[in-house]
Amino acid sequence: MSAENLLAFIILFPSLCTAIAYFLGNKDEKIRNIFLIFVTLINFVAVLCLFKYIKTDTVEISVPYIMGSGLHLKLNSFRYIFVFITSFVWFIITVYSSQYLINYIHRNRYYLFFMITYVSTIGIFISENLLNLFTFFEIMSFASYPLIIHDEDEKAHSAGRTYIIMATAGGLVLLMGIFILFSYTNTLDINELSDILPYLGNIKYVISSLFIIGFGVKAGMVPLHIWLPKAHPAAPTPASAILSGILVKTGIFGIILTVVFMMKCDIYLSIFLVIVGFLNMFTGGFLAIFQNNIKKNLAYSSMSQMGYLLLGIGCIGLLKDHQAIAVYGTLFHVFNHAIFKVMLFMGIGIIYMVTHKLDINDIQGFGRFKPVLKLTFFIGFCAIIGMPGFNGFASKTMIHHALTEAGHLNHSNLAIIGDILFYVCGAFTTAYLFKLYTAIFVENNSRYYASYKKDINSRALFPMVASAILIVIFGLKPNWFLYQFEGINEIFNLHNTGVFDINFYSFSNIVSALITIGLGILIYVFFINKKLITIVDNKKVYVNPSINWFNLEQDLYKPILIILFKISTVVLHVVDNIILTFYNFIYTLIKYISNIEFIEFSSLINSINNNKKETNESKFDYSTLEKNIENRTEFIKTTVKEDLKDARYKMNSITYSIFLLGAVLVFILLAVIIFK
């Protein structure tokens, strides 16, 4: 198969199979599960086959005259990273779902939207045309909604509501951006836009801000993140895993396209992204420490990790000619985060499958005697905190290097603050995951001594083991991974290619990683142990004081919306009343005029004539007329209304119609000749 056909295949094949799977699912669920596992596997293999084409080259498909401005798909090594993690994660999650969902209802619906989300996500990553990208983006937003509300309980619907409002609003903001962009540039091709957009003047900041807000909602950017910690706990675990592992990456992908490609690394946007990145890292990590719901903990963790990515993108802009390390660091972290976060979610899912509980107090000590689960979870834990030897270490080190270099390059005093913040946020990561790990796998709890083999089989454990292996491989051989994607050099116009020769396991790197981890353990020992754990009946109980803290959604957004609504109600009410009063005034005025009584002219004449007859005088006697007018007895009175009615009736008659015709003819003739 040629490269173009393969590219079309990876999007058309799963969409066709989605429909087949839906009908299969109505007949037999088992066959459907196996079918879908094979579909995602074949697609994954197809993506792997594409690798040899994109290593140095670009694969493009362009079909004009469809989807509005034509369909333009493109795959290069930069996009390949996203497509690869999508197809890989979807494959392992499909395997995992077949086990996880056994006790759920509406499975067919779940798989339908699961697959639609899959197709649209791949579509986002390979669209070169902004309108295609937007279309896939919206399909993905709406298709993931049924996944979030799958349980259909109060909590799920509340989360779903927040998600759908945020996603729709984000989509509309993005669309607005696309509209403005198109009206200025007349093209939607990302490649062509990079030659036009940076030279547009100040409007480019309006456009790019709209884009960043639209994509930022998906990426969980502070303060647009409020849907993220709500949706993750509410969704079934496989759905949480793809939300956290892949869907948030679509936002990151969009921001990379906007800032790095379309805006050519604009300096102001880069600074903005660095700040937002730190905010995300800090808020996400800080709030994660307090969470007792393990999924919520991981959700905040995702937010914090998105902060690393935003920081990385910001650094790409700040580093100018030396951006290679930031580019590779960010993309490597995209890859790593997808794998370890999905793995952690799957581990949690296994716990949930057995216990049906998510609160850390209920599942304390669950994993103490479960070696496979414990080991894989430990690998994930090490990866996310950046323990040397695991993949998270490599990418975080690279982002850290990028940050330090950016500080050097710009001779900024803020660099030291950034460095400290970086350590602190890394320490937060260690602290909240250490809390999770000790609570689940170190504590002793006699309730969970029993084996879980009857609930869990290899279909749930295989995906975890597979991703654990990947984590270790990429952790030990990061340079090998980076070398595979040297095509990125050309795409990002990188000059400095020293990035492949970085010695990750140098003394200073290992020391800084260990400092971070040490700090994290200190936070655990001195803060979490002291403040967040109380002993009740000889048992540790984790408390979460942050529940009563300031909540962005409840305490800020909702009141603002309510106040705005009330103000607009009042304003519109006033406007309404003004219009109504005006209308009433006109109405009464017309009514008043139409009811004015006056004496009909003919009866006046009659009265005069009668008068003449009575008095038998040729001379007109005004005094009697005045008397008559005073008495108002002899006159026929009429109102404007009656007169108008009369006139209308007369107008409708044949005679008057002819008169009118004549009058019009004369009028037009005169007008034409006089004003010629």
């Binding site: 008057y656 119609s657 002819i658 015709l661 003739l669």
Partner: protein, 487 residues
């Protein structure tokens, strides 16, 4: 071969019209009429295809280029209108197949079909002809035939309305004849193209005569196409006539005179001559007045068909508005509005006819809750009303849009306000019917769902018309481009 198609069209209709009295069977009369209309539609489509592929053509009979010669010219507008008229008239005849007994006395049904065929023949003749006197003859035939299809109901109101229409129309015809005589005395020709050649050279010598001719044509044709203050006959005639007649009169007959006016202003004379006079301003003034006052009078009506008839006056205002702009864009939009309005208004009349027939009352107030009893009919009515109001995609919106663009093109922004006002007024009289028909619990109490709905074969013509309307809206760009090639 296709050059004879226009002639065959007119002759087929006339011959069937005169065979019907020989047959004297109602069923055969109807089927003959439907058959002839179908033939016309097919031939018209052939003509349209030929005009699209080959270009416009003349058909000349008698002694070409002399006083006796008859010259028919088929260009893009003519071919479009010919298909439109054949299509609408075919659907109206099919509709009348099931409905006409309800309104026309039994013994007059075959006579009714004679008149219908004659009317369509004369309308097509008016469209095709390139000869002034020829067009006058067809205008007279069409006037008498339309009087016939109004009076056929044999009620007091019909006779009164017909007399009024007849007298007004005859005065109009007199003015037209006067204008033709005048123009003949000036140029010595009756053929429009020949007159054009002469007039373009010599019009500066007779400035006043040209003006008078223009005024006579405008007023004469204005009476017949219900230009605003001369519309007096229309509400009576259109509301009292049998439903298929109303649809035909409002949808097609009044349009054809407006098209004749376009031919005279822009083909006999020319854009440059007409733009030098004030006549266009008068036409735009009367058109605007029609748009506003037609709507206002529609608001005050209490009977459904009368309201729809007044709405026709307002819509003719748009056509005159477009003509009066005096630019190719404006006139093309006016023609497009003729097309869009023909399908919409005929469908609206057929819908209201059905509703009136089932409810048994002409009053708008009695139609409350009709949406529950006849959902499909009211849905179709709503669709038509949406087009009149100007909901995007539907043709009503598109003609308003392009009229506004044409106004902006010649820097007369104030005219856009008139278009907007008239749209709002349209909402005021169409929406109460729809809202009262569909919603409002007090209206719907005691009404049984679909209790008054009619069989689908009676609804089919309306559905086809509405589909055609949506298609006209959808392909508006192509239609407008094709029409614009005429100028």
């Amino acid at each position: 071969m296709y050059k004879y198609f226009p002639l065959i069209n007119v002759f087929v209709l006339m011959i069937t019209a005169f065979t019907i009295p020989i047959v004297r069977k109602k069923k055969i009369a109807r089927e003959l009429s439907i058959f002839s209309n179908a033939v016309i539609l097919i031939l018209s489509i052939f003509i349209l295809v030929n005009v699209i592929s080959i270009g416009d053509f003349h058909y000349k009979a008698g002694y070409p280029n002399t006083f006796f010669g008859i010259d028919w010219y088929i260009g893009s507008i003519e071919s479009v209108l010919s298909v439109l008229f054949a299509f609408v008239s075919l659907l109206i005849v099919i509709y009348s197949y099931k409905s006409i007994e309800h309104e026309v006395p039994n013994e007059k049904i075959d006579f009714y079909y004679i008149l219908l065929n004659l009317l369509l023949a004369s309308l097509l003749g008016i469209i095709y002809t390139n000869d002034l006197f020829n067009s006058y003859v067809f205008i007279e035939v069409s006037t008498l035939a339309s009087c016939g299809i109004i009076v056929i109901k044999d009620k007091k109101a019909n006779i009164k309305a017909t007399i009024k229409y007849l007298i007004m129309s005859t005065v109009g015809s007199g003015l037209i004849l006067m204008a033709i005589a005048y123009i003949y005395s000036l140029t010595g020709h009756l053929n429009m193209s020949l007159i054009h050649e002469v007039i373009i050279k010599n019009y500066t010598q007779y400035p006043n005569s040209v003006l008078i001719i223009l005024v006579l044509f405008t007023v004469g044709l204005g009476v017949k196409s219900a230009m605003f203050p001369l519309h007096g006959w229309l509400p009576d005639a259109h509301s009292s006539a049998p439903t298929p007649s109303s649809a035909l009169l409002s949808g097609l007959v009044i349009k054809v005179y407006a098209f004749t006016l376009i031919k005279i202003l822009y083909r006999v004379f020319s854009f440059s001559i007409v733009n030098e006079t004030i006549i266009l301003n008068v036409i735009i003034l009367l058109g605007s007045c029609g748009m506003i006052f037609g709507s206002i009078m529609a608001i005050t009506q209490k009977e459904l068909k009368r309201m729809v008839a007044y709405s026709s006056i307002a819509q003719m205002g748009y056509v005159f508005f477009g003509i009066g702009l005096g630019t190719p864009a404006g006139v093309a939009t006016a023609v497009f509005h003729i097309v869009g309005h023909a399908v919409t208004k005929s469908a609206l009349f057929l819908c209201s006819g059905l509703m009136i027939e089932k409810v048994g009352s002409k009053k708008i107030s009695d139609l409350k809750g009709i949406g529950k009893e006849m959902p499909l009919a009211l849905v179709l009515f709503t669709l038509g009303a949406f087009s009149m109001i100007g909901i995007p995609i539907l043709p009503g919106f598109i003609s308003k849009w392009y009229l506004s663009l044409a106004c902006i093109e010649i820097n007369r922004l104030s005219l856009v306000i008139i278009i907007l006002t008239s749209s709002i007024l349209n909402v005021i009289y169409y929406f109460p019917i729809i809202i009262n028909g569909f919603f409002g619990h007090e209206n719907l109490e005691g009404k049984v769902y679909k209790s008054k709905s009619v069989s689908i074969d009676r609804m089919l013509p309306i559905i086809f018309l509405m589909t055609a309307m949506v298609l006209v809206g959808g392909f508006s760009k192509n239609i407008l481009n094709f029409i614009s090639t005429a100028f």
